[in-house]
Amino acid sequence: MLHLFNKTIASPLPSAGRAVIENVSRRSFLKGTTGFVVALQLVPFDTAKAFDSYPTNGLNMPHGVVNDPHIFVAIDPDGTVTIVAHRSEMGTGSRTSLPMIIADEMEADWDKVKIVQAPGDEPKYGNQDTDGSRSLRHHIQPAREIGAAVRRMLEQAAADQWGVTIDEVEANGHQVVHKTLGDRIGYGELAEAAMALPTPARDDLDFKDESEFRYIGKGKVQITDLHDITTGKAIYGADVKLPGMLYAVVARPPVVGGTVKSVDDSAALAVPGVQRVEMIPGTSLGAKFKPKGGVAVIADSTWAAINGRNALEIEWDDGPHGSFNTADYRKELSASANAPGKSVRSQGDTEDALKNAARVLSYEYYQPHLAHSPMEPPAAVANAADGKCEVWAPVQSPYGTRVDVADYLGMDEKNVTINVTLLGGGFGRKSKCDFAIETAFLSKQVGAPVKVQWTREDDIQHSFYHTSSVEKIDVGLDENDKVIAWRHRSAAPSFLSTFVPDEGFEHEIEVGMGLENLPYEIDNISADQCKAMAHTRVGWYRSVSNIPRAFAVQSATAEVAHELGRDQKEFLLEMIGSPRILDWEAAGLPQKFWNQYEPYEEFPFDTGRLSNVIELAAEKSGWGKSLPAGEGLGIAGHRSFVSYIAMAVHAKVDDDGTVHVPRVDVAIDCGFVANPERVRSQMQGACVFGMTAAMHSGVTFENGRVLESNFHDYEMVRADNFPEAVHTHIVPHPFSVHATGVGEPGVPPFLPALANAIFNATGKRIRDLPVGDQLRT
């Protein structure tokens, strides 16, 4: 979801050669051909057929953005257009949507487009770290620039061939046409001459008018892997097979920071097919993505490796986190959140206002640690030989993986290749490449290609967990029941502890996800982060800290409304107040709101857009209608990943406490939408993901060990009870309204909207997640 410490401003670097990349999923190779590269920086410009370029944080990400057509597009003599997808595909559709934008802007016929996946090479492709809901946000402009540049090169090549000026020709449907003579030349015929041309200057590019888009904004293009997925041909991490490959599973220390005290591997080695046992050095908190260590069993099949691991006898030394218990930890978080912490926002004088309030309403919310549990558990294949290492892995950050693998193996980065397979779900888990490092290390140790397969138990018990938190909210009312003060204290261990020695406080990213930026028009607002030490590996999980923050704030708002006998939607809109751009100075922040690192001037927090999606979701849901007993509507709105999303959730609670969600109305304002079909699928998915988190998810530690192990005790929403009808209402915008995040921001509003709906259905208020058996009668 995020890239830490991304302050280094890196320019796209010229690279030594253009690469023709064949699809990793076809298990082919990277082969270089000669060519040259000119990397462009985005610069503002003004021509008649241009879109107004705007800066995004994509420019500040490591290795920035690259918009050179020679890097991203190749055209074969038969007209086949090959477009490189440099972001990892984990289900959001960016592997289709970005090439689709290029194809549209270059007037290519989508049926003649082939997509190939880039290996981890940020100096060449620009930033590839696929998280933070930024693929379209950061790359929609470069994609249009690449497409427009290729189109211009094709037009120039045709004009050259005909001996006319470029003004006399135009690209249209995979060919260039002479405007008056009607002569036509196909892209295939023009390919060689066109692609030999230098990259046109940004100022010389003509962009399509939005009315001329064939694919962008239409939602008619199917995901590029659809046929392969439905026929079993799509290749994920564990699907790569190399000659002579061995299969490994690893017994990892059950407690983070634990080490092997003793191991008896004689029974394991006696399992037919088991070839050897290898030790992986251990690490503790703060080791970034280095493996936890443990004992690897290497065999001639996955099944033999699993059986071999079952036969290991290991005595562990648990280390300093062996007394970590969820029940105690919750009390610790609660104590911390019920006292002043480190101030992250101080607007007005909240303490004084609370002291003088006619009454104070206080609410405390809790969420345990969560595991991402993508359907594809971590798996990777590696071949380390002759001082080089090639890896095939479902990783969200392929270049980060390359750097980390090189570092762990003591190799130069140029000797490490990371091929990116499809990801069978990511959700932030596959931002952490511990599984790829383990695989590379084992391959080096055994001197053969190795596949490491994580079992589901491994996945749930050795994750980088979503933070656990207690959110304490105190709301001060005056004698007229006007809200005069809002104090939010949050105690949640930070993912910083995964990178540096833990000090018990959050990174600005986490603080910025709904703690410091309450968009309410109240005179006195304060927010504190309260100390919380990590005792397990904490990592980002789809939507990150927005989940507990939106849950707390949007639940508390409905609770106050109920207390005051007010309509929850009207009260929420009243709290948000007038349409305005949030002013960080007036809000009592020492610096600008953390804004997903996007420039605030370009992506300001516009409360009018937030109120608008709340109104829209409410209206579409029939807010205010009467419902039968046991049913209720709940609403919540939250801005995250620079997008505004509100959800009205209809809950139906059976007499035995079973919760159903017959309908959800999602209103989303994510700026310009390139692929509405995938926006809808992401919103459907966000509701299911949110329902799982709300109803079922919780990882429980006892003596440092995770008790849950598989889908029987770490449950998922299933087809027999899911949000049945998700209606997504997209606020339409032209391209000038900047595209913002989609993959993550759908999750946070779902949980409080569901909790509010459950309350309205039953009168029972959910403050502890997950709901679990709380409603059971």
Partner: protein, 150 residues
């Protein structure tokens, strides 16, 4: 020695007869469309047909399949145009796609036994197949399309 007809071809295996079909088809036959998701029959990602009935490939063993017919996603249709596959594409069901082979095999099994399932029968049949991306709404629509053609 077990003999199993997989996607129409006789295959032999003389390894551990307790080897789950999942690992047999993946590791021995390179049929990687069948996925590992949980290993305990809880998620359905490994669903294959054993004599035309959906089973979890992580629970059914090579011994269970000896002398029988196994169909994996690769063998469901020669052209990839089984009505369930077509419906899946028409409805743009997948997100990440990892669970979809199992979902499709489950749905195909349901429809071969019960060509016109009720809404509840669809939900009951498909509840064993987890989709973490949350494609259920489209899965149900696609099963209905494959069943009724609309």
């Amino acid at each position: 020695m077990a003999t199993i007809k997989v996607n129409g071809v006789d295959r032999q295996f003389d390894g551990d007869p307790d080897t789950p079909l999942l690992w047999f088809v993946r590791d021995q036959l390179d049929l990687t469309g069948t996925k590992y998701g949980c290993g305990t029959g809880l998620c359905g990602a490994c669903t294959v047909h054993l004599d035309d009935v959906a089973v979890r490939g992580c629970l059914a063993t090579v011994a269970d399949a000896d002398g029988k017919t196994v169909t994996t996603i690769e063998g469901l249709s020669e052209t990839g145009d089984h009505p369930v596959q077509v419906a899946w594409r028409d409805q743009n069901v997948p997100q990440c796609g990892f669970c979809q082979a199992g979902q499709i095999m489950q749905a195909a099994s349901l429809l071969s036994a019960n060509p016109n399932p009720s809404e509840q029968e669809i939900l009951d049949e498909m509840q064993g197949n987890i989709c973490r991306c949350g494609c259920y709404q489209r899965i149900v629509t696609a099963v209905r399309q494959a069943s009724t053609g609309a």
